[in-house]
Symmetry: C5
Subunit: 263 residues, 5 copies
């Protein structure tokens, strides 16, 4: 584990990762129809300059084209793998971007999805190994694992034991931070955080919910010892992304409760 620093993914040990690879994962018509201007990555990069955001996670094509104009103001979390939702079969996410090229483009950290529980799990672990060792050994670059148990053998992928397993796997096979789904309660999140020992854990933002529900779950994550949040649609699908980022800043970095923040 490489200790995360402020110049990379965290600030004061906490993280607010803004993510935008939904065009690849879900398609423009699914996630952007209500916010079509957001299809332009510049809008997202602008949003990512908000003080609360510790880094921005995007795919290679987007980074190649738009990051050069923002490299002073945004930390880049290079999301190396990703896939469309058009095909069928056991979950697997191909590597679309090499660590070397991510480093060349100025990435501060790399992100990689691992679907433990998929019948392709073993292949994904080996893919992850290559990424992790390359990032650590060649570039001292931290690796954030999107740790999402999923596949034929897994029905409920957010139950407590699954999310704890997800953070533990990330620790054991060498991630520097795990991004996991919210297991439904502060207690379950605590168990997941404890299972990760010293490795920081962030919650995945998921689909858009009400301000209160969203901020309350973030509050619970912080209370449970979590390191913060990785969020996409819950920010940029809103009419006022700035406002929700202001609120998140309070909950994540200033120990505010959801109630206090929304007052």
């Amino acid at each position: 584990m490489i200790p995360l620093t402020d110049s990379q993914v965290t600030r004061d040990g906490k993280a607010l990762i803004l993510a935008m690879d939904h065009g690849l994962e879900h398609g423009p018509s699914a996630d952007f129809s209500s916010v079509p201007d957001t299809l332009n990555p510049e809008k997202i990069f602008e949003t990512a300059t908000h003080d609360a955001v510790t880094c921005l996670a995007v795919q290679k094509g987007v980074a190649e084209t738009y990051y050069p104009s923002y490299d002073d103001d945004v930390n880049l979390l290079a999301k190396l793998n990703g896939t469309s939702n058009l095909w069928m079969g056991e979950p697997y996410s191909p590597k679309n971007w090499t660590v070397d090229y991510a480093a060349e483009l100025g990435a501060d950290a790399v992100g990689y999805t691992v679907y433990s529980g998929s019948n392709h799990e073993t292949k994904m672990y080996e893919d992850f190994r290559d990424v992790q060792e390359r990032a650590h050994r060649e570039y001292d670059m931290p690796v954030v694992m999107w740790s999402y148990p999923r596949g034929q053998g897994l029905k409920n992928d957010t139950k407590e034991s699954t999310i704890a397993y997800a953070t533990r796997i990330a620790l054991e096979i060498g991630a520097d931070m795990a991004k996991v789904k919210y297991p439904g309660s502060r207690e379950s999140m605590e168990w997941a955080v404890k299972s990760a020992a010293d490795m920081p854990v962030v919650m995945s933002g998921g689909s858009k919910t009400s301000d209160y529900d969203f901020l309350s779950s973030v509050e619970a994550v912080m209370d449970a010892g979590g390191a913060g949040l990785a969020v996409g649609r819950n920010v940029w699908q809103r009419d006022d992304p700035e406002a929700i980022l202001d609120a998140l800043e309070k909950v994540i970095f200033e120990d505010a409760t959801a109630d206090e923040t929304l007052e």
Copy 2:
């Protein structure tokens, strides 16, 4: 994304790509029986010297043999993968030509088909990654993606959301231009173009249609913000390829309507 220049695939930001790999993709008896002389690639290279044509897309064997005589007059878009239609199974297109050899033969850009939605999608993304990174990092050579969602999970492969997904995937995983099927209306094409943000999108010409229908769809593409056309049979299956290229030149580069052009 590498900005396309006039010496490669576009002129004034617009493209008319002449394509001829139908002998491989469909076979000589399917596409050339009405125009047997066109089986000789020299005829196609001659056609490609037309002013309207910004580049010619062919497979390796054809380029190796005939391009040396035309490298002053034709820009070469090296189509790196391709397959016959003789076999069965989920769509996949093998790499028949390396980026290195394409560069050595003088290619100005490379082209690569990706069948998102195929159960081999993940393999194709990884193939594409290798091609894209090699072309960009070693040769500053742009990559045009034939972005064709297709496979077990996809029934209608030209509906609006599919074509928009196709252009978005191309942007996210690092293409410099996407070639997609026409989604049936100007409005749908606009959504596809918007989904690609700053990456240019060209329409795939498809099988031969009437002059009016063909030029009208090209007009709609240009109106929708598209960058032009990649065309094969709709040019070289005609008795007078010159005439249709003259007409396409007007619609693509001179903002003429189909009606004006055919007057």
Copy 3:
């Protein structure tokens, strides 16, 4: 395409390739029981010294052992892949010999079987790519494709459209010569030759037939613009291989008809 020269596979642009890898492809008991002495490759190498023969196609083990004694008198066409007929499943032919080692042993050209239409077609194209690029780029060595459409989706593998597809595929993916089955008529062979544009096409000799039938089909191939013949059993399964080679020399290199030759 590398222009073939007399020192390699052709003479005056025409070819008579003697082939002997039937021990691998069909087994000794199937093809050699009537001519057991021919199991000794020396007999074949002796036969290949006949003036009519432009090169000899054998597998690695045979070339390694016997070619050193004949390298002044025989051009070696290194047949790089091959398989037994003992197993089941979609056609595929593994690479048993690298281009580098073939070059080291003095090969003048390499040969490679491609089963387009097999559900392993895409893998075979990629295998072929490696061979072709290595041979062309490192050794300026021509590549002859045994282009044999075959597999689950192909019932009649000698119909006109299939054989024309076979020669076209060879041209498009970079062969310097195609070896195909006889499509049954001079007209069909003409279409196959035309589909190959400037790439020479030779007929595959097939199983042993009568002198007249055999020479007539060769005559038809030459009339159709073919470059000659690749033959195995139709020569060395005969009592007098010399005699049939004398006859073939007349038909292929001296424009004689089958009738004239057999008078």
Copy 4:
């Protein structure tokens, strides 16, 4: 076979390997719910400083983070492969850690699980080959095989012939020590030890059992000529890991019986 030395896995030719990769193999909720503090690898590293322990086996992420503080006091057995229990299919364990990186982090030896009998056996043997040759040839580092026959064709994986097969396979394909399950009796263990010839064999500790049952099986292993024990849960799931390590030290290194030890 590399003779094991005191600085690596054994002391006086005997071994007590403490293992903790259960968070990966079984998940935190399965194995750590009764001993949650043990989720912190520091607790395990502390335990491993006990005199009886000859080395500690952990996965990469744990070693990367915690081993640097303990490299003077603990010998590191880098467990290179491992998988979750979330997926379905024939057993296979992916390589999560390269030999090179293990050596770089100061590993004294490497460990690798091989599931002979799995329909992926052949792939695992080839994975093992790479690990073994890299470790032996580049680093003079011994390789401990977790030799666990398992898969579609194997019902009872602890019967005498299976465990003897397990140790023999380890010897034949190049392990320096085998870790196998207890075959149920001293006699069976003797046959397994004899099958390994000069290669040391240790028993795998398994799930937690009573002190007496556990120590008795270790006593039987030592009597059978075994080299010792690799143990995880049977130590760190106990309230007092120190006490059981004291007892194991007597049985393994001081020839005490279970009865004597528990008196």
Copy 5:
């Protein structure tokens, strides 16, 4: 084909290969229960010092540990692949040992099993290619093929045409010697030997039989032009391996009949 020399696998062009990898292929309980002391490879190495034995075939782990003490007295035939009999599916044998490492350990030749007829045949041919070319080109080391047709499509794997096919395949794809099963008669063995042309053929010893039956089959092999025998269980499962080796020496190297030998 590399001509075999006395220092490697043959003496006076004849071979008596002692083989012991049955612990891997069949397991200790299957083949060693009647001769448990033979589990110690030292016993086998001692036996291999008998004058009649031209080389000893063992797996990597056994060679690594025991060969250094015998390298003056025993020629090592490094058996590079092998598998257990615990799993299910089409025959395949993984490479457990690289040519480079075999050469480094002093191997005089390498051995490789190929299951032609298996649905994995094509993969095995490619594995064999790598081994053969590495051995020949880098080390001038001969390659003995265990040529064992086997798989879904093959019922009787010792019939005449199958064994002749087996020797021919070995010749064609580049073996320097073939080890095949006895096809049941001298006549069938003659056909197999003839099919191999100049490449020497040895019979595989098989499971233990009576002295007379065993020696008679060896006599038939020698009469048929075979080069000798590769034998394991038929030697070391006997009470007096020396005696049978003395007898084999007479039949193989001194042209004695089975009757003469047993008088």
